[in-house]
């Protein structure tokens, strides 16, 4: 049951990612990405990390993707504007080599981890443990990230409103 669920979710997330890259229609691509993100959330939920699962759905699938779709719909591109650029065989070869290298590296790194041996801490991925580690061990990166986001927000407001 668990293994079957894992393979279904893993297939869906990989398929969603491939469809996202492969589809011409930007909105269809965005929905494939949502499919991929939701299946990833399902994989996280299988680890009993409820809070991480909820955050994945709430923040990525729910908020960020809505904004992306909002932008796509506002631009409302016509079919003619979506002509693809011609791809030369050199570029294709380069991409293939990079992908192969990446896959090789991933196998080298993750191939040694035995998934059966990992013990989960009690309360792994629930709201208390996430909050505790975010505001104690990782408080410095957390504050730095919020500062960066604040800078980004101020920058956007500056760009959007030429006169303040």
């Amino acid at each position: 049951m668990q293994v079957a669920l894992f393979y279904i979710l893993a297939t869906l997330s990989v398929a969603g990612g491939l469809l996202m890259v492969g589809q011409k229609n930007p909105l269809a691509g965005a929905f494939s990405l949502i499919l991929s993100l939701c299946s990833l959330a399902g994989l996280v939920a299988m680890l009993h990390a409820e809070f991480v699962f909820i955050l994945q759905v709430l923040v990525y699938a729910g908020a960020i993707m809505v904004l992306i779709i909002f932008t796509i719909m506002l631009l409302n591109l016509k079919k003619e504007e979506l002509q693809e650029a011609p791809v030369g065989w050199m570029r294709l070869l380069l991409t293939a080599t990079l992908c192969a290298l990446g896959a090789f590296g991933a196998i080298q790194v993750f191939g040694e981890v035995d998934p059966g041996q990992v013990e989960l801490a009690t309360g792994f991925g629930n709201i208390e443990s996430v909050g505790r580690s975010m505001l104690s061990d990782f408080v410095y990166p957390f504050e730095v990230i919020s500062l960066i986001l604040l800078v980004a927000v101020v920058g956007v407001v500056l760009l959007a409103k030429k006169v303040i």
Binding site: F31, F51, I54, G62, M73, N126, I127
Partner: protein, 432 residues
């Protein structure tokens, strides 16, 4: 190890909560019609009947369903077919799955089992509802975009902007509740509301978080796209908004989704701020201890109420007959309803008489009575809030779009930050 009994219990719980939400649908549509008529001083629906039984317009729902099922489901030639067909399904399924974390009674201890009255007792329960409702936007967005119609697209865009804007105060209003009750688990929050404040006030979220409750309720109205925030639809500006190209059952799915969203929002408001399944002043142990008295009161008052209603119905039937009546089967409606209620009331009073000679209820009986009382409390509060949604719709005018955005971003979000700050300060002072 999970046995088939556990699976059966989970399945039963899922069926129960979905049944609850879907049963409230026709009731809400009836509320909407009769309530609107009541507020506008009209009669409301009073024609549809089965053999003369109209149930004050309730039968009108059946006529509606038959009409919607028989209608042709048009697919206009210019739409994106796949997305056009998926959109209504998305809009309905997501919102239904959010009911998984709503608790409707305290944990039931029976036959050596602990059955929590909640389909999934998630650690971050309320956030799960937020996550699911944020997915719910896709149904509307997809409908608006795939219709390939500028009015539909504008409705979809408006709805997206509105939902994103009001999700923030909705989430921030929750933070105060988490701080007061020290948990994000819905059942824990409800349990925390069973205590008394200053010895006489139930410690409901409303009393410990008044500003938070107000912000949450307003944001919940906006999230369900109800008046005064029903900008995604606007007959005078964008025809019907995102569902303008839909007809038949596909339209009905959007319509039903809207009402299920109202039930969900009411259930959330009740769970967070109005004590959830708590019967005021009667925590679970007291309910179980006084179960036999409670059973007598429930049966006695219920039976007497049914008999009184039967008398009213018979009196009405007589008046109709004296006044000439309709001249068809509808004249007999009062008699049929009156007799039915005499039977119900008689049965309840019979059991009431039986309980008088009963010495004490067995433990499982007492716990079942407590369970029924808690479910009734939850249902009564939820139905009251559903009625408030309809009440507001027929009392308030709509916002303009810029007013909507200003209220959301410039007033509600700062206020919710103030609420969090003040709550933190209060907790600090109280614990000192």
């Amino acid at each position: 190890m999970a046995t088939w009994v556990d699976y059966a219990i989970i399945g039963g719980k899922a069926v129960f909560i979905w049944g609850f939400a879907l049963t409230l649908l026709p009731v809400l549509i009836w509320f909407e019609r009769k309530g609107a008529a009541f507020i506008q001083d009209r009669a409301g629906p009073n024609r549809a009947a089965i053999l003369g039984i109209r149930l004050a317009g309730f039968i009108h729902n059946i006529a509606d369903v038959v009409k919607l099922l028989m209608k042709e489901m048009m697919i206009p030639p210019h739409v994106n077919r796949t997305y056009f067909m998926i959109a209504p399904v998305l809009g309905f399924t997501f919102i239904l799955s959010a009911f998984a974390v709503i608790p409707w009674a305290d944990t039931l201890h029976v036959a050596g089992r602990e059955i929590s009255m909640q389909v999934a007792d998630l650690n971050a329960g309320i956030l799960f509802i937020l996550a699911i409702t944020s997915l719910n936007v896709y149904g509307i967005v997809l409908a608006g975009w795939s219709s390939n119609n500028k009015f539909a697209l504008m409705g979809g865009l408006r709805s997206t902007a509105q939902m994103i804007s009001y999700e923030i105060p909705l989430g921030l209003a929750l933070v105060g509740v988490f701080m007061v009750f020290g948990s994000a688990q819905l059942n824990e929050i409800v349990r925390g509301q069973g205590e008394l404040l200053f010895g006489f006030l139930p410690k409901w979220g409303l009393f410990v978080q008044p500003l938070g409750a107000l912000l949450f309720i307003v944001a919940a109205f906006a999230e369900t796209n109800r008046n005064p925030f029903d900008l995604p639809e606007g007959e005078s500006e964008i025809v019907a908004g995102y569902h303008v190209e839909y007809s038949g059952m596909r339209f009905a799915l959007f319509y039903m989704g809207e009402y299920v969203a109202i039930v969900l929002a009411s259930a959330m408001i009740v769970t967070l701020f109005f004590g959830g399944w708590q019967v005021p002043y009667l925590p679970t142990e007291k309910l179980v201890a006084s179960a036999d008295t409670l059973l007598k009161i429930m049966l006695g008052v219920g039976g007497a109420g049914a008999l009184a209603f039967a008398g009213l119905m018979l009196f009405w039937a007589k008046r109709m007959k004296d006044g000439g009546g309709f001249g068809d089967l509808r004249d007999k409606e009062g008699i049929v309803l009156g007799l039915a209620h005499i039977a119900i009331g008689g049965a309840m009073l019979f059991f009431f008489w039986k309980t008088l000679s009963l010495e004490a209820l067995p433990d499982w009986g007492a716990r079942t009575v407590a369970l029924v009382a808690q479910i009734s409390a939850f249902a009564a509060k939820t139905i009251f809030w559903c009625w408030v949604f309809i009440w507001v719709r027929w009392s308030l005018p709509r916002f303009r779009y810029d007013q909507l955005m200003r209220l959301g971003w410039k007033q509600m979000i700062p206020l919710s930050f103030v609420n969090i700050f003040v709550t933190g300060l209060m907790i600090l002072v109280m614990n000192r």
